[in-house]
């Protein structure tokens, strides 16, 4: 609105601000619709993240008021926390590198194979592969504890004994040598989750005329088809499922507790970042320090995600 002639013009900034509020008021319906989600979102995700950042620079035991200690928590984490450096970090990296990309590639391979089947059959195979990811913690522990049970009644021990691969029953879950491998196997088994379904969906969006065109352009086999046509056409879904895979991998940690029944795994052999946070938060009540660890975890996941966006970003004109 232009000021009436004769009236002094309001300062520009003020006019802008007024305009801004008017537009906000005009869009009030939008904000109203958004409100329920945003309220919950700020309460349980946004503010906690900021609070974690704040708490990470304090010493806080949950009772007394947090005491500001600067970056001491992070310094301690990097220099004094032997368990973190010696077990948590290598374990997390090993676990994440195998389970993350491994599970991701496996879900793509299986999604692609299922997509090659006639339509009527697809549902059964989808169900078979998706079912493990529906088994929650309890089902996981019941199944796998029975399979890896330490006496000769355990399924794995029984099979290996029968074929003469081992002399005596192994304590699979209590032995630091094996625990990590078992965790990786179990997580891979249950890793065909939402990301897998997203890839199945993505495969259906690929324009089939592109394959014809590709053949004319000299694509010889299916591998080339996948590399030059399928993957580029479903980049958006690939990215979404990468996001899901990374979140799933970094938050896995309860798996070791479910398998061994112990908060701290034998010899820290299955100790991941989330276990470290739980250890300091709910066993030792050093909440400031635990927050510092979770901030590090957040940073790591953010960086990995930036990398994935680089990898899968849809370029202009694609």
């Amino acid at each position: 609105m232009r000021p009436a002639p004769g009236e002094p013009a309001a300062p520009r900034a003020l006019r802008r601000l007024r305009q801004f509020f008017r537009e906000c008021w005009r869009d009030r319906m939008s904000y109203l619709f958004l409100a329920p989600f945003m309220l919950a979102f700020s309460c349980f995700i946004l503010i906690p993240v900021f609070m974690a950042a704040l708490l990470s620079v304090t010493s806080f035991n949950g009772f007394a008021f947090p005491k500001f200690i600067g970056v001491n928590n992070f310094i301690a984490l990097l220099t004094q926390d032997i368990i973190f450096m010696k077990y948590t970090l290598p374990n997390t990296f090993k676990f994440a590198i195998i389970v993350g990309p491994g599970g991701y590639i496996l879900s793509f391979i299986f999604a692609w194979l299922i997509h090659q089947l006639p339509k009527g059959l697809r549902d059964y195979f989808t169900l078979a592969l998706y079912a493990p990811s529906m088994a929650g913690g309890v089902a996981l522990s019941v199944i796998w504890i029975a399979a890896f049970s330490g006496d000769r009644v355990g399924y794995l021990n029984n099979i290996l004994l029968k074929f003469g691969m081992i002399e005596s029953p192994q304590l699979w879950l209590q032995d630091p040598k094996y625990l990590m491998t078992i965790m990786i196997v179990v997580t891979l088994w249950s890793s065909m989750g939402v990301g897998f379904l997203a890839m199945l969906g993505g495969l259906q969006t690929v324009n089939t005329e592109l394959y014809e065109a590709g053949r004319i352009d000299g694509i010889k086999n299916r591998l080339q088809e996948v590399y030059y046509i399928t993957v580029p056409s479903m980049k958006p879904q690939m990215l979404f499922s990468a996001v899901m895979a990374i979140v799933g991998t970094l938050k896995a940690g309860s798996i070791s507790t479910q398998l061994t029944g112990l908060q701290i795994t034998p010899g820290y052999s299955g100790h991941l970042m989330t276990n470290h946070i739980d250890d300091y938060a709910f066993l030792r009540y050093e909440w400031g320090y635990a927050s510092a660890v979770s901030v590090v975890l957040l940073l790591i996941s953010f960086l990995i995600m930036r990398f994935c966006y680089r990898l899968f970003a849809v370029k202009e004109g694609e």
């Binding site: 919950a40 019941v142 379904l197 990215l239 979770s294």
Partner: protein, 310 residues
Amino acid sequence: MGNLASERIGTTVEALPYPKRLTGRLRRLRKQVSWFQVTLIVFLTGIGLFMLLPIIFLFNNAFKPLNELFLFPPTIWVKAPTMRNFERLFLHSAAGVVPFTRYLFNSVIVVALTLVSVILASTMAGYVLAKHRFHFKTLVMSLIMISLMFAPETVSIPRYIIVSGLGMTNTYFAHILPFIASPVAVFLMKQFIDQVPDALIEAAKLDGAGDMFIFTRIIIPLIAPAVATISIITFQAVYLDIEGSSLYTQKETMKTLAYYVSSLTANLQNSVAGQSIAAACALLMFIPNLVMFLLFQRKMIQTMLHSGVK
């Protein structure tokens, strides 16, 4: 689909000697499926069975009598199925301070309320984010994108402080509200509503329809697949969640089935008597998820067509 490649593979496979009856049957099948697909079906069936083996075991285990659970050599198939494990589960908890039904009731209430509120909140937010233009839209979208990237469990300490600060400990709110902040649900919903044609909404607006009308009469009927998907995802998360019960509630009467069951299966490694109850519990926790997925499988894939991040 892929005729060239499949035919090439087909010729190599055909050269192999097969029993006559099998080739006859396969030749009939050949009319519908290519050789490549036949090999694939065999391979995938193998993989599928391998993936399902533990699940099959889960089903059988729940109906095994106690002597079969500890049989040597261990078996997978149940010989004399019995409902005894489920009876024991109910009896075990009936003798406790809090009856089994109370946990079940809590779980049903929490799951139902959470589903309704998550669907409502995420549809509303998704509609606005997909079809409206307003000042903070890019900000909200980027916040959601960033929060997709980490598991909220990592900030469980501040969450606990907030829950207790809001005075929600020992109430159903502590179980329900944290789940409403589900960036995945809003994201999927937004992506799905994006593909509702703008022309439809424009036309309704020209006819004088308000936001409420557009939302309830146009958007809601069109987004059934996305609602189904979000229900499945939320259901899985809520029904299996134990964080709410273990961190936010101290009263035993306010805890959910998942927590109760996980407390029964804790230290399963060393307990002999608990095995039968645990087997029944595990099946109990798995079945509802399975049923949900079976009901909505197709819809879920349909939603995922639009799940891309651009």
